[in-house]
């Protein structure tokens, strides 16, 4: 379709200048609104929160992750699991219908017989399959890389549970009472490790990390994968860490050492 030449000719000078003014304003918007010389709103909004301080909101500057050193993880120790259950108000049951946000698993090298123990939970992928398959948009990734379920929109279809290669998600089968104020849980919705998002937002460590350190193992390191100066980034840069199911290219936020 070609533009109508008559309508263009009829346009008044006033309308033109109004449009020009708008364009200038829009250009200023694109360039970033200047608050003071050198300070833009976008920079304030994206300022990375440091560990130990309450954050003003999830920011894509940080990417929260964990590095699990399986050589430090003690076989038979379930302190991280217990801490998770306590923090999030889970029953602690291990039936197929019970919610398990974190599990301890034992792996064995078949030829040498060497056994190792490690915790498995939501790997907080950068490319989460659970988010891809969710029909309602309830399964989502926060700006800071934490993968969560919005239970307000979850319809309990469990596609995400099938899509997850780590079996990390659980479905709540029975009505819940006495939930934790920070951790709403309800029947008919899917849930998984939240990386203790309510604690992270306050500048605290996830419950499993604290419990592991308290038990003297310090096998779980929590930190910002995007910051090259963080302890977790330095260790990932200097030791050979692995992602589980690396071949799926999910870029997991939880990395493992010694497997």
């Amino acid at each position: 379709m070609t533009p109508d030449p008559t309508s263009q000719a009829n346009e008044t000078g006033e309308a033109k200048s109004g449009r020009r003014g708008f364009m200038a304003f829009a250009a200023a918007g694109i360039a970033g609104i200047l608050i003071a010389p050198g300070v833009r709103l976008i920079e304030i909004a994206q300022a990375a929160p440091a560990l130990g301080t309450a954050s003003p909101g999830a920011s894509s500057i940080v990417r929260w992750g964990m590095l699990i050193d399986s050589t430090k993880c003690a076989s038979g120790c379930t302190d991280c699991v217990t801490a998770c259950n306590t923090e999030n108000g889970l029953s602690g049951g291990t039936k197929t219908t019970d919610s398990q946000w974190i599990r301890k698993i034992e792996i064995k090298e078949v030829r040498t017989g060497k056994t190792q123990s490690l915790p498995m939970m939501c790997q907080h992928c950068a490319e989460p399959p659970c988010v891809d398959v969710c029909p309602t948009g309830a399964s989502f990734k926060r700006a800071d890389g934490i993968v969560l379920v919005d239970k307000h929109t979850c319809i309990g279809c469990r596609y995400c549970m099938m899509a997850c290669p780590y079996k990390a998600r659980s479905f709540v089968h029975s009505p819940q009472t006495n939930q934790k104020p920070d951790v709403p849980r309800g029947m008919g919705t899917v849930e998984a490790c939240t990386m203790c998002v309510h604690k992270v937002d306050k500048g605290e460590m996830p419950a499993c990390v604290t419990a592991c350190a308290k038990a003297g193992h310090e096998a779980i390191l929590f930190g910002d994968l995007n910051n090259p100066e963080s302890e977790i980034s330095k260790r990932i840069a200097s030791y050979p860490s692995r992602q589980i199911r690396e071949n799926l290219n999910l870029d997991t936020g939880v990395r493992y050492l010694g497997i």
């Binding site: 309450a54 954050s55 003003p56 909101g57 999830a58 989502f140 926060r142 700006a143 800071d144 969560l148 919005d150 239970k151 307000h152 009505p175 819940q176 006495n178 939930q179 934790k180 104020p181 920070d182 709403p184 849980r185 309800g186 029947m187 919705t189 998002v197 309510h198 937002d201 306050k202």
Partner: protein, 121 residues
């Protein structure tokens, strides 16, 4: 004509009754007094708009990680929990439940969220 006059009578009668709270014929919901002092907004505004405020902020909190908002369900509960049942929805006289029963609106919040305050008074 007669039905119209009757209807008009009803309307006027209703207006008169609405104007005087002490002489209402319909039973009013029992609203328990809150623990704290002032609500975050005017009570009349909250009665109409609390659901909008909560719905708006829940997305900011859950998806944006902003936990400093003014309208948090947790704080509603902390302030409005009953002194006897320590809950906002355990019995029919509790704060949320009484009004929702009266208005015949089901509360879904407490299917997932706890109805008890975080800090025990």
């Amino acid at each position: 004509m007669a039905p119209l006059v009757f209807l008009l009578g009803l309307l006027i009668g209703g207006a008169v009754y609405a104007g005087d709270a002490s002489s209402v014929r319909v039973p009013q919901p029992v609203v328990e007094s809150a623990r704290g002092g002032q609500c975050v907004e005017d009570p009349a505004f909250m009665r109409r708009n609390h659901m909008k405020l909560l719905k708006h902020q829940r997305d900011d909190t859950l998806r944006g990680g902003v936990r400093t908002g003014k309208y948090s369900l947790k704080e509603c509960i902390d302030c409005h929990a009953s002194k006897t049942t320590d809950s906002v929805a355990a019995t029919e006289t509790n704060f949320c439940q009484s009004c929702h029963n009266y208005a015949a609106v089901k509360i879904d919040c407490f299917e997932c969220h706890t109805n008890k305050p975080q800090v025990k008074p």
